[in-house]
Symmetry: D2
Subunit: 356 residues, 4 copies
Amino acid sequence: MLLRLRRNLAEDERATFLALAAELGYAVRFVEGEPELARLEGPGRPEHRSRLEDCHAVVGVLDGGQAHELHQRAPGAPDRVVRVGEGAFGGGSVSLIAGPCAVEDAERTLQIAREVRARGATVLRGGAFKPRSSPYSFQGSGRAGLEVLARVRREARIAVVTEALDPREVEAVGEVADMFQVGSRNMANQPLLRELGLQRKPVLLKRGFAATLREFLLAAEFVLAGGNEDVVLCERGIRSFDPSTRNVLDVGGVAWLKLHTHLPVIVDPSHAAGHADLVRALARAGLAAGADGLICEVHPSPSEVHSDGEQAIGLEDFSAVAADARALAALDGRTVVQPAREDAREPERVPARPVG
Amino acid sequence: MLLRLRRNLAEDERATFLALAAELGYAVRFVEGEPELARLEGPGRPEHRSRLEDCHAVVGVLDGGQAHELHQRAPGAPDRVVRVGEGAFGGGSVSLIAGPCAVEDAERTLQIAREVRARGATVLRGGAFKPRSSPYSFQGSGRAGLEVLARVRREARIAVVTEALDPREVEAVGEVADMFQVGSRNMANQPLLRELGLQRKPVLLKRGFAATLREFLLAAEFVLAGGNEDVVLCERGIRSFDPSTRNVLDVGGVAWLKLHTHLPVIVDPSHAAGHADLVRALARAGLAAGADGLICEVHPSPSEVHSDGEQAIGLEDFSAVAADARALAALDGRTVVQPAREDAREPERVPARPVG
Amino acid sequence: MLLRLRRNLAEDERATFLALAAELGYAVRFVEGEPELARLEGPGRPEHRSRLEDCHAVVGVLDGGQAHELHQRAPGAPDRVVRVGEGAFGGGSVSLIAGPCAVEDAERTLQIAREVRARGATVLRGGAFKPRSSPYSFQGSGRAGLEVLARVRREARIAVVTEALDPREVEAVGEVADMFQVGSRNMANQPLLRELGLQRKPVLLKRGFAATLREFLLAAEFVLAGGNEDVVLCERGIRSFDPSTRNVLDVGGVAWLKLHTHLPVIVDPSHAAGHADLVRALARAGLAAGADGLICEVHPSPSEVHSDGEQAIGLEDFSAVAADARALAALDGRTVVQPAREDAREPERVPARPVG
Amino acid sequence: MLLRLRRNLAEDERATFLALAAELGYAVRFVEGEPELARLEGPGRPEHRSRLEDCHAVVGVLDGGQAHELHQRAPGAPDRVVRVGEGAFGGGSVSLIAGPCAVEDAERTLQIAREVRARGATVLRGGAFKPRSSPYSFQGSGRAGLEVLARVRREARIAVVTEALDPREVEAVGEVADMFQVGSRNMANQPLLRELGLQRKPVLLKRGFAATLREFLLAAEFVLAGGNEDVVLCERGIRSFDPSTRNVLDVGGVAWLKLHTHLPVIVDPSHAAGHADLVRALARAGLAAGADGLICEVHPSPSEVHSDGEQAIGLEDFSAVAADARALAALDGRTVVQPAREDAREPERVPARPVG
């Protein structure tokens, strides 16, 4: 690693820095004629970079060298492929997640699940626990919603992803879900991320609406560092100064992520748009920028939705989105994973592998 | 309430809206000649506004009328004064919170506590649980840190505020702290906010770095709605496009909050600045804009700090900040609460009042 | 128009409002039971909305009714098709603009023009006057650059677009260019926009990097209001908090613009990306979101570029971008306009039509 | 200068870099063992840094060494004091600029000028040319407004600052104004800045609403580089995601600027706030952060204002702002410059010094 140090280090600052480097196992060489530059040779473990950056003597890391974090794509390394039920994300596989914002009653949710599966979704989305801005807004149906999801999963033979808000709910959510969702508001909720790092189920991690791409990757690192390798990143729009659209879908961020991490990246065109009439365009843009999938709010009757109904698209529009996805994936030699038609059965339970 | 409805409502959308209004106890009058406007007369409870806004037929609330949320300042209503140990925030009282970013060993922390108290701080800050961007960075000393705080609190006779990150830690933190801190990353962590709403201890709620003022107040509302009336809001800088300073202290937001809520508002000049040499100017700006106090990172030897050392100020600088605070408060006829000098004793324990 | 008025209007404020409405030719009806709402019936000319919004008594326009601005897409109205040399933007036609950041010497520029034309560009870009952040950076070759463009235009038989920075240069630029470019820094340079409104040549208007979509459309309105109907809007990325990419390409903004205006919209993936390795992904995303064309920085040897070389792509990459464009356009039944191959001749001069 | 170069430079890239360095008069030494670092010894002129940064081989300047730009504060150097009529900005002098958004009729403007002067303003603000978002909004009274200003200046014996929008208007504006204003929309209008660099009258340069502090200083550098040393920087709020206030006053930016440049810095609390009831708090915050003055929109009857009336404060409020300014300045040993009371006479004409 090549580090930049503060100018005119005091003797004690310099000593503190040298002691830390030695403790971590590095040899320090000051660059000749440049007292503010130090070259460190040693183990290069991912955690060392952060430890050194925390040191007061260090202005920053100019060159990280071989030290790399778990999310980083090594040169030439292939994509991590994350499998969820019939779906697969990454490595040329594109999958579609669709469903209502919040879980509704069992009949309705079952109907939606069958409809979106018939149109190409391999994973059903639906919130049981909903984070809302106001304590007085509808907060989801909670445990009852999880039971609905369990039944729908079984009967419609579709994998489900649903949000965990609270580390105390992770176990209950994990009994039903094939994939945990971490919402935008909770991207930096580290107790929750650590808890999910101990699970052996994929995690759909949404980018905080004002998180840098570096912070997003470090949030994923909290999960990876716990031993859970199956993180799917989701770009869902960042906050801007313009009220015309709810958020700004950062398609450049999608492309940047695909270069810098081996983890799959999907987009959420619904939250980015905030209006149904922009969803299809954003879904296309995200896939064209290289996304490995989509998560869409879909509802047979958007006008009856309890929360965020303005951004849900109807079933026909979802068919169009799915057709776009197939066409766009084909341009790159990628494939949209289709749900099985004939012998569909309940998604296999992922056994809870022992930790460590 | 005056509501704006969607154009050309379908019959079922209109019916759904009317049913909801009736369920909540409102009479609906459509404004003559304006089919998109509806006037509702009824109970006007705070939760109704959010319920109506969630309804697909409703574009927005044009005039909230008498319905108000708990954080709202009624016309002419006085400030809520929140007391923490010797400190008091609001109603003309300004208090200073100071201390290290993270709790250090007991001797060091005790020394800092005595030093900042002697210079005018009535509350000690210090993190035991630290949220950091990387899983490999120093994460605080955890429970051991809480023990240090308990000892320092007793021996230095100063109230302490420390962060709770995880709803499962709230009880342990509450056994030591006189005030809970909710950090910027957790402003929208609703399980945590709800847990704190059940406590009978003040909460220092930091604004999310990209939260609107409305979202900030609704986060406070999660605590207030639980029955805990003692929330102190803290503006700590918002994220911008400019890397020169770490964040942008939203002094206009401080002034706006003082007009719209009766809750006290303080500023954190340290996180806003990100550099020690800007802290004093930001502390002054915040107080001049009407803040009811400050929370500052102070360390006798900033160069030895484990995390965020760049923004900690030394003891002499803190003396200058405290002197500024006294001068600025006096301009408005406000007072900086001074720690007792003679018969100082351990801050009285706030008894855990029964909930409800 | 339905206007919202201030609460408790003073008598003189009310009188001023009524006088203005009368002067503009409107009948005012106050909505029964709602003293803060006024319905105006009258001519509904585009300039009236702004005049009324400027009135102190008026909080805002709730419903603009028939009053519309020149950029607005009337329901069901077709795209405005803007033709530049062989290129056409809008109405199902997609065109590619390519070339160097700044005009170079004549031989080099001629070579680039021929290369990009052979690969599918119908318009050559190249700056003679360059707005740079520092007064000491390379500012372009000025009038000499215009002469190079004139020669290249003639010999390579390709239309050219180049930036005008200063209203005093508009005439000289217009003698050479087939299309005027207004850069992001000058989106709100109203003397320049007014001057271009008097020209009878297309204008490529880039969005300011922190302009709202409404402000962007109003900047176009300055040109349209002068009588020049040929404005092509260009989304080139907005500023955000994340340093990973230079800007954030607002693909949702592209889709929103296509709904709200009949003017063509293109994207500039080069300035949005800031790095050559992201340009292709952004070009694809922009077209997939509905853009009517691209403007790309292309250079046979990006490493030799004077300014912004990091974002220029090479010729082979441009071939790939052009192939992507054809494939994406075909998905929608749109066509990428190809330069003529055989009988190519100098683009016809657009005669300077008399104003008015 | 210490430069960071690209990894694995091609031979021609390296040659281009070495040729440029030689041309500028620098000796290049590659840092031993670090092929990506180059130390340049040589003239260190301000323009060289930008030239080198433009070179493709160069990633960035790690250490600018002695090369400095004209706006930079040399270590320990005093403030530049800019004098405008009776006012003085910088070096411990604080001055107040006040007046209407736009020039009104002569009688009204004269009355306002006398009122604000009597309350402590040494400079009158008032726009003759107004940049507005819509072409249909009131655009100011133009040349007639300049004539009003000339008369008011003479009769009220107060210096005036007014905006120049167009390089072609600079001469006409300069015949009346004691100080040129460059508005936020025109901060990067380089032809205008260059034109003002040739004048020998102070320039009030407003920060673009999404300009970084570095870009702001470089905009000032365009004026300074032309030989005009009298630039007053004005922070007027930056754009954010929060609609509660019109802009966010960047008080940290004010403090940062005072450290990094010797130029005076003032704040515009009116445009930052967007609402009259926040102006006083922002004026105080700006001065407390170190600003050398204020520019305020003041009007005896804010409800009658043509544009931006919502943010104008009345005369009594301005008296309160002026009293605050005196109190805050006194805390630092600074002085608010007061207009002469007795023998007031027309401000002396600054003679047009020959350029160069």
